[in-house]
Subunit: 360 residues, 2 copies
């Protein structure tokens, strides 16, 4: 048996207003005046001068606002890379992603594709990346995805929804500034927070569990309980803790694997473009069979915060469309093996998944 040799984020800063240190942090990483930093920023911050005035643009640096309305696509990565190559003679000094999981995953993927030939879709999978990425920095403005700490970048390609999993994917630098999450709308806060919660449940109830993952997963789960079921935290404390829960939850799945909710949520995301956070919630509502305690607690959290989960999104789908979702979900074999065990194929049938999807 061989264990993963996990590549960690190289450096991390944590603290309220630590975002102000970004300029000092990246300055020594500038290769030359013509090698720009490219800032990929969630377009919810467009016109938000409190944020944008603090982005340390210099020389030929470029700020690109990116919509996170849709899940990130391989084609979007290719377009961004092409645009950067056309605009600049020099390879950039670095890519700085500022946003939620969509923006962070795009930043990681662009940093990889600037030094690796061909199209992003060719790198979806495990350890297909040949060359180290350029310097890349992740600054989450939304907590829960774990994208800040993982060695993957989940992308929707023409054929599948799958990550570019590689040792070159993790950020060289992460800045954890919980202040940046203060304007997140409540539903978004909940959906993305539940991504973290589901990471914990899937990791802690998986067959791949080990003491490393368990310790991170238990802490993240404990923080989620405090945040989503407790009443004792101030808004600031809650935001600080959710940012750490996301980090620890990410580390937990990094050294184990996710499970049923993620596999099925990827199916919804691929076919219907359902965003990952809310997709997890839509699926998790119906997974009592696999995670009885986890689903019960999730429902208590959802009720406490009075969150509506979309229903009936699969009501009018054709058989072909169900098949497409089922194909995507079943292709994620490690997730099923983690959730159900080595003999998962005996238990997880197409009919079973179809029946589950039909409830959503």
């Amino acid at each position: 048996m061989s264990y993963k040799n996990y590549p960690m984020v190289s450096r991390v800063v944590f603290g309220r207003s630590s975002f102000n240190q970004l300029g000092d942090i990246i300055a020594p990483k500038r290769l030359n005046r013509k090698a720009p930093f490219i800032f990929l920023v969630d377009d919810v911050f467009k016109g938000n001068s409190e944020m944008t005035s603090r982005i340390p643009l210099a020389y030929d640096d470029q700020l690109l606002y990116i919509s996170a309305e849709h899940e990130p696509k391989t084609s979007q990565v290719d377009e961004l890379v092409e645009q950067i190559i056309l605009n600049y003679k020099d390879r950039p000094s670095g890519i700085i992603g500022i946003g939620g999981g969509t923006i962070l995953d795009l930043a990681k993927a662009v940093a990889i594709m600037l030094t690796n030939e061909g199209e992003a879709k060719n790198y979806q999978g495990w350890d297909l990346v040949k060359n180290p990425a350029i310097y890349h920095v992740g600054i989450p403005t939304l907590s829960g995805t774990g994208a800040e700490v993982s060695r993957t970048t989940i992308l929707t390609g023409p054929e599948r929804k799958l990550g570019i999993n590689s040792d070159y994917t993790p950020f060289d630098q992460v800045i954890l500034d919980p202040e940046l999450t203060k304007d997140v709308p409540k539903e978004q806060w909940f959906y993305t927070g539940m991504d973290c919660y589901v990471h914990c449940i899937e990791s802690l109830n998986g067959t791949f569990l080990n003491a490393f993952s368990q310790s991170y997963g238990e802490k993240a789960l404990e923080l989620c309980k405090e945040i989503f079921l407790g009443d004792s935290l101030s808004q600031e404390e809650s935001a600080d803790k959710l940012m750490m829960a996301s980090w620890h939850g990410g580390m937990s799945i990094a050294y184990s694997q996710v499970g049923v909710a993620h596999a099925m949520s990827y199916g919804l995301g691929y076919l219907l473009g359902v965003k990952h956070g809310v997709g997890n919630c839509i699926v998790f509502e119906h997974l009592e069979e696999y995670y009885p305690e986890g689903v019960a607690m999730y429902k208590a959290m959802r009720k406490k915060h009075n969150i509506n989960i979309p229903q009936g999104i699969c009501a009018n789908l054709s058989d072909d469309e169900f098949d497409t979702m089922i194909d995507v979900a079943l292709s994620l074999e490690p997730l099923w093996e983690n959730a159900v065990g080595k003999d998962w194929k005996k238990v997880i049938t197409r009919d079973k998944l179809k029946a589950l999807y039909k409830k959503m």
Copy 2:
């Protein structure tokens, strides 16, 4: 206010028997056949063929057995570096430390001093290291110190007991194989485990605490309670969890600071050569004033495992000797500021420390 930009361990493997992966892991890091790997191995493993037969020596690689009977010294680092330079024309491909905190700290320091001029004592302090260290790997065979995850390497120099704290100090690779801790004698297990426990108490009760440190410290503390006060764990589970507690406890102080016990334990170590783990215990017995709950729980752990703590080690010391210990302890200003607050100098007097040392 500026937050630390913490450099993390680059890669980590966790798992029983993961030590067997060492050869595969370091092979791609070999610079050439004449650039050896130097293995610094705790001499308790001398003649232990179960361990030594698995050390992947090749070409001109060298295995040096090191006694961990004494705390590591700057002069010892200088001697090891000189020996390596005299023996080999080529700079080594890497340094592999296999042992407890003493060996791990020596490995980190030797890796630094192979690329930085002068003597190790000149680098005791914060951020004095100019050049990146050579590739270095840490493999703990004893859990609790946090040396596997920290950016310091505590050394006793001619003038002080203080770490080489730098961004180049952390290991490039850590292998966490709890199986390697199975033959640790019970008292050693307890003393070193208490190093982790004390890290948690000092971090969680310090004025430097933040949500990052708190989340790691709380998890490590919870694991310590389970290990040292619980009855439900198998020996293997307990060893797995203590290795993770050490890791998380190390991360907790990495992003905050230790406190009174460490400051005073360094005084004992400097003057009397008391090993750090037992030194922490000797001191912690008398710190109810600073950590009332922490000391009570520590005493319960010590009783449960029927551990004897040396007493009266300061009984026959001269005033000059007390002064030496007090000088060492008081020089560690960040530790006192963390423990007692900005105005610590008003509270922590020489007389107070002398009275405390006299009890030990």
